[in-house]
């Protein structure tokens, strides 16, 4: 990490994030502007993946994060999440123009994996930045997506 973070309280995470969604990364591409490199993720939201929909009115959104590699040049900002193509995630989002960014960097990023019984299990994108909602639940075993959504609803005031 090249970022020193403080832990965001659960209520802040849930209410300050514009949207919270569950879905898959369909495509990843890099963009170089005059002085920055960005990574663009085409993110397809699952039909039941609108945990907090905010103003999202489409099933596909563009998530744009700082950092990436174009040719031989790399902008490395560890601490900002890196998503894998075809990977499934639960993400806390904030709006930036026409794009979305991940709220709280890695604290707003959770990987989703499917167990043989069909349960969707969550894990932090980076252990070091596990958010407080996850950490709270993980202390009593695996964190399922269903359980996580319930927890989020408990904190939601908007």
């Amino acid at each position: 990490m090249s970022m020193t973070m403080v832990e965001l309280p659960a209520g802040v995470m849930v209410n300050e994030a514009k949207s919270i969604v569950n879905g898959k990364v369909e495509a990843v591409n890099y963009e170089k502007t005059s002085n920055m490199i960005y990574t663009n993720y085409t993110f397809k939201i699952n039909t039941d993946g609108y945990i907090k929909s905010g103003d999202i009115n489409s099933d596909t959104i563009n998530i744009r994060t700082i950092g990436g590699q174009v040719g031989r040049e790399k902008l490395d900002v560890p601490g900002f999440p890196i998503l894998s193509q075809n990977g499934e995630y639960a993400l806390f989002l904030e709006k930036r123009g026409n794009n979305y960014d991940i709220y709280g960097a890695n604290q707003g990023c959770l990987k989703v994996t499917k167990e043989s019984n069909g349960d969707k299990i969550l894990s932090p994108c980076e252990n070091e930045y596990a958010n407080s909602i996850y950490v709270n639940q993980a202390s009593s075993g695996k964190v399922t997506l269903k359980g996580f959504i319930k927890k989020i609803q408990g904190y939601q005031t908007n």
């Binding site: 990490m1 090249s2 970022m3 020193t4 973070m5 403080v6 832990e7 965001l8 802040v12 300050e16 005059s34 002085n35 920055m36 700082i66 031989r72 040049e73 790399k74 902008l75 490395d76 900002v77 560890p78 601490g79 900002f80 904030e94 930036r96 960014d101 991940i102 709220y103 709280g104 960097a105 604290q107 980076e126 252990n127 070091e128």
Partner: protein, 305 residues
Amino acid sequence: MMGIILIILTSLNTLFCFNLSSGRWSDATATVLFSSTMGAQNSTDLKDDKWIDLTMIALSRWTMIDGASFSVVHSTEDCGNNCAIGNNKNEFYWVAPDEPPLNIPAGALAVTFRRQFDNNMVEVDIVINKSFDHLGDSGLCIWGTPGNTNCFDFPSVVTHEIGHLFGLDHSSEDPSISVTDPRRTATMYYRLNATGPLLIPLKADDNEGMICLYPASGEPYKVAECCESYNPFDRAPGCSHAFSEKSTQSLDIGGGTAGCGSIDKVDSKGSNNTNRLFLILSVVLLPMFILLFNRFILRNIGKRT
């Protein structure tokens, strides 16, 4: 002849083990700039350019390590309101969270942006979050001075971020390791507690990382030693965790970049293919060379007689 071949092969081995996955300053020098206008303005501990003095002290901690050699030059230029990524200048400045184009995320005290070209650092900017520019109530301060306990220690934060500037990663990201573990006591441990312990002064693990990256001898052999020993089960004494921890996590059997950088392939024990090539060439070519040399001598002796 044989000696020359061996020297060339040994040099190749060292060179291939030299680049870091997380980047390195190839000339062990960096010029840094500060912004007096995009600086701390509220925190009485840090305003009036006190944060610049504290940052320079933090930089000097890293450049005064015995056995390591790195030069930091403090430019007289002030980046003012023009500090930005992409201008090939290494700048320290404060910005408000969510301010474009950096959009520092909520909760980030400071962020280090590293621009690299072929794994060589070309620019590093350390950006501090303006929303922590206040004393007390979880702001940035000099921790421990009278009344300052409910805040984050700025010298610790900036010393840690500067470790990233040099190319170091975290000594550990494991919250469960013992509080006496050298990886945990290191400045490059991933977590900073508001109420201490402070991340300064630098610890042995931090020092070894710098010695690996920028050996005072000017020779890359120390780095090569770290490369060769780099795997979680066989770390050589004196090889910093901050130097290799991240790399061992991304150990890739069968290819990719890992360990000390752009190594073609890495096996499960962490030895790279250059080592293997060196071994094969030594075992196969050496006897062949001796055989040919003997035949050449015998033929010449035969001709003479």
